[in-house]
Symmetry: C2
């Protein structure tokens, strides 16, 4: 009845995705259509359409005639996702070095400098937000929507596993230093260096995340959830 501009299916897809990404719906749990329909106050039809949509993003697993479950991410798959994201981010950095406009370069430099102040003040929340914005700048700077959407999608998907990344002591300053290498290379138009520096940065992020996890990659999916917390 609401004159809502987006359809129930779309809203549902968003809400279910959020519930999964923020952990309300745990990996492996069954996504019963009746239950979801009841919880969100609709019939099963839009639920089914939303599930179909989420399945193609890899967030849930759709087993024919056996219902949907929240995709379980093993630590091995998680590693693959991190590596893939790293490669894509590095590619975006490379392309940014080659094709950012002067205006984009100026904004990138300014944003980087602002982040320096956040580090000095040890403002973790501000830095976290600025970090997302910085990476978004590289996605946009690549001037390739196909690539930047893929990369941003992976980043969103991995967000739950990166929550704690700046909690490790000294991580803020180190992150900023790594960013510095990437930013300088991009501003200098040095594609190869930008690629290498970003690759280095994201692999260190992954390391930081593994340290927090306590357990090295290679065990149960429970490890993944520990990493998130």
């Amino acid at each position: 009845m609401l004159d809502d501009r987006q359809t129930r299916t779309e809203k549902l897809a968003g809400e279910i995705a959020d519930a999964i990404l923020e952990g309300t719906l745990e990996p492996g749990s069954r996504l019963d259509e009746h239950m979801l329909a009841g919880r969100y106050g609709t019939s099963r039809t839009p639920v089914r359409e939303a599930l179909r949509q989420l399945a193609t993003t890899g967030l849930i697993e759709l087993r024919p005639r056996r219902g949907a479950i929240v995709a379980k991410v093993t630590s091995e798959q998680l590693e693959m996702l991190f590596i893939a994201m790293g490669e894509l981010e590095a590619t975006c950095a490379r392309l940014s070095a080659m094709s950012m406009t002067p205006i984009e370069r100026r904004r990138l430099g300014a944003h980087y400098d602002q982040m320096g102040e956040m580090v000095a003040q040890d403002d973790v929340p501000a830095y976290t937000a600025a970090n997302t914005a910085l990476h978004a700048m590289f996605y946009a700077g690549a001037h390739n929507p196909v690539l930047s959407e893929m990369t941003a999608g992976l980043r969103r998907r991995l967000a739950p596993f990166r929550r704690a990344q700046f909690r490790a002591p000294g991580r803020l300053a180190r992150s900023h230093a790594e960013h510095g290498a990437v930013v300088r290379a991009v501003l200098a138009g040095d594609a190869a260096s930008a690629h290498a520096a970003m690759l280095h940065h994201v692999s260190l992020v992954e390391d930081a995340f593994e340290q927090l996890a306590g357990a090295p990659a290679g065990t149960a999916p429970e490890a993944a959830r520990m990493k998130a917390g």
Copy 2:
């Protein structure tokens, strides 16, 4: 009533995707739910679910309350897709250079040599199939399912625009020479060279396509023409 193991929705998604990729359904044409349901002998429900699934792959565009249309690929978007695919292929080649097993390397070398014979005999059909297999080897050699699925997906999506690629005179031999550079770098474990060589190769493929772009199946005709001119 067929006891088919896959659901109607899945089969529909596949058939509609095929119809789009081989040009039966032209870009921009409306995908009327009744019409599709009639054509494939089902009700609208599975059609709607299939459309939702295809929409997330970018093959069709779903406009709320206004129906679905086959995604129009402008020449600019096409260029972005080619660039993104090139970057991903290059990344796969880079990772292959770093992490292919000895067995994979041996098979790669052998396959490459076989392709040389096809060039000598000017066997275009065989070479085309072998070319797909060669690229698949790089996807697999990256040892990262996330990345290889993304790359393979892009390649499938661009397939209609590459049909004519080996028709240009001399293209077969040139392609083989370019492959040679990539294969040698990968076998030598030279990641940077593998990346560069693959990037070079795919950009040349794009050029070849641009020269030929008369009217490949599935093209938005105006896009192809603009590219040609």
